[in-house]
Symmetry: C2
Subunit: 249 residues, 2 copies
């Protein structure tokens, strides 16, 4: 099914058609895996229950995430297949605005897919893409899952991990890193272990983090405030309540 | 990710690993589409909220569905890509036990995929597979979506449509057919328009309908009773309540 994306943003299905188009392009480019397509479907179901909108507590989380990225010593945005397919240009823009590195990091790592994703990010304006050296290791994970760049995620104090696997989110947390996780299931392990869990669709979350980063840039007091006032537990509780009360029709 | 399916049925992840393995095989065989993988993910999320079990109201629905198939003049089991990938042998067995026809019927129809699915069903023991003639039409749908066999779904009084698209489920209902729908979202249009909505994972639902059919076979009074005592609205309400109260952890 090929969809025309030459649609006005006001179209009621704009976001879902855009998403579908980008995922299809991701498959064609060898970026999105079979597991990625199934994961996309799981996300769609949770987003549907959430009302396909950024709830207030997610907006707070996105503001806190922007503040963490800006005030980090060394922030890295981890990019997997679905993230690259869904928001390639938006990730590049967020990295630019916050000064974070982009690092390709796959659950099912193949050199071909890493290269395809790095190329795709470069086509969308990225100048430096990490993840190809893979000379660092996350302790506690098996070999292939553990690979990171030593001077990328390995050395980062803050990592944004959209759509991350639970085991790896947990292992990154145990390394003492500040983890910013985007996950539509508020009770996933990734969301539970995050310093800042963002329960929102990545297609809305990334541009909104960038917008907050623009507003917070150069204002360390406002950054500190955004970080201090954010409460992960109450954000997760709020997201769960919204999903449970969500419209199934 | 290739999973070993040489697992004991008592394995806690048996069902989910079996599902994953069958979906992968379906992709390899050209049976499962990209859209099918995304739909599989949406189903997984709802099944997770449902507790990955057959709730009592779904078991009632499966019993009523078995009764409808047995007491039909002409019952047809519609088979799409995901249904064929997930429960090929189970669909053939259900058709045998109830005397229903099997008809391949795709949302994104291509001759290649129809042939691949028909072959797959034959490998699993089907002797007669409909859907290749496509000489009938469902009124109210555009050309490709409307195609059915005139002597199959076209002539059926009872159709079992697992995982059906909302538009088509609605159009089939308007033809006056008794529709038995398997859908994990109790508020999908397909579930809402069904005579018998079955809110359950197809991998559990089909074998359970077959088991009920074996018990009800040759007993018209019990079949009538299973049909009369089933209440679609209360089954949907019960499924929705279970999903809302479901464990997110």
């Amino acid at each position: 099914m090929s969809e025309d994306v030459d649609l006005p943003e006001s179209h009621p299905r704009y976001e879902s058609l855009l998403t579908r188009h980008r995922i299809e392009a991701g498959v064609d480019r060898g970026i999105t895996s079979r597991q990625g397509l199934i994961a996309q479907g799981r996300g769609e179901a949770f987003d549907y229950l959430l009302g396909e909108r950024t709830i207030d507590s997610a907006d707070d989380a996105e503001r806190a995430a922007a503040a963490h990225l800006l005030s980090a010593e060394h922030a890295v945005i981890s990019v997997n297949g679905n993230a690259a397919a869904l928001v390639p240009g938006e990730l590049v823009e967020l990295a630019e605005v916050t000064g974070a590195d982009l690092e390709v990091n796959l659950f099912n790592r193949t050199e071909e897919r890493i290269e395809a994703i790095a190329d795709y990010l470069r086509e969308h304006g990225a100048t430096d893409v990490k993840g190809l050296t893979a000379d660092g290791r996350i302790p506690g994970l098996d070999h292939e899952r553990a690979k990171v760049d030593a001077d990328g995620i390995g050395a980062a104090d803050v990592v944004l991990v959209p759509l991350e696997d639970g085991d790896r989110a947990e292992a990154l947390g145990e390394m003492g890193k500040t983890e910013l996780v985007i996950d539509l299931n508020p009770r996933s392990r990734s969301a539970e272990v995050a310093t800042v869990p963002i329960v929102d669709n990545i297609i809305r979350a990334i541009p909104n983090i960038t917008e907050h980063a623009r507003a917070l840039r150069g204002d360390p007091d406002a950054q500190r405030d955004a970080i201090d006032t954010f409460d992960a537990d109450s954000a997760l509780t709020d997201a769960e309540r919204t999903i449970r009360e969500g419209d199934l029709e």
